[in-house]
Subunit: 128 residues, 2 copies
């Protein structure tokens, strides 16, 4: 395990999402993306990314004047971390409760349903 266990703040998460989607990017590029959803100044984005760098949430290549940033934590790990937390804090540690919540209150296409069911059957088979 590396320094992955740091919990990103709300704003940091927004930036991570952009980095996951775009891959390595400059502050400018991240910022352009960010302002599509959210009012904010360039140096705000810069500062946030600098802080994230100190925390190890992003990596950066500063050989050029415009530094290139990329995510330092994987989407996968972050998803797991936050899902774990949600299950623990709001669903009494029961992942099946969360599953039913997600299935019950969100539109899921037929195809998705089928995929889930298949996934489930495999689990039941291969699992204990």
């Amino acid at each position: 395990m590396s320094s992955q266990n740091i919990k990103p703040t709300e704003s940091e998460l927004e930036i991570l999402r952009i980095l996951w989607e775009r891959g390595p990017s400059t502050v400018r590029e991240v910022h352009e993306q960010l302002v599509k959803t959210k009012e904010s100044g360039y140096t705000t984005t810069l500062k946030l990314m600098q802080i994230m760098y100190e925390k190890g949430l992003v990596k950066r290549d500063d050989t050029n004047r415009s530094h290139i940033y990329e995510a330092g934590v994987s989407q996968e790990k972050t998803r797991k971390m936050m899902t774990d937390k949600l299950i623990r804090t709001l669903f009494q540690g029961s992942s099946s409760k969360l599953v039913m919540q997600a299935l019950g209150h969100h539109k899921v296409s037929k195809e998705e349903l089928a995929a889930i069911r298949k996934y489930l059957e495999e689990m039941e088979k291969s699992g204990k």
Copy 2:
């Protein structure tokens, strides 16, 4: 819609969880429960609950000296809100991705799996 859309903070959520479990309770009772997990002073709990009252996150009956607090937002709504948010922010809006994440990375008992599968089948049936 009432004032349900207020997002509880971390600490507020801890208190809500206790209120959901215990039902109407005094600050003292909530506090006793809280200190089992977390170091904190009585007036801190009190202050938090007062703030929650102002925000509408809890209701209270102050006819007696010891006020009786109860949750002002339901566990159900809160679960939905936070699950929605997780799906939106980390799973590209796809609830099935979250479902697979939850199924894949958490221990789910055979019984739970079966229950989910049944639930799923019913959905597919009624849904079509």
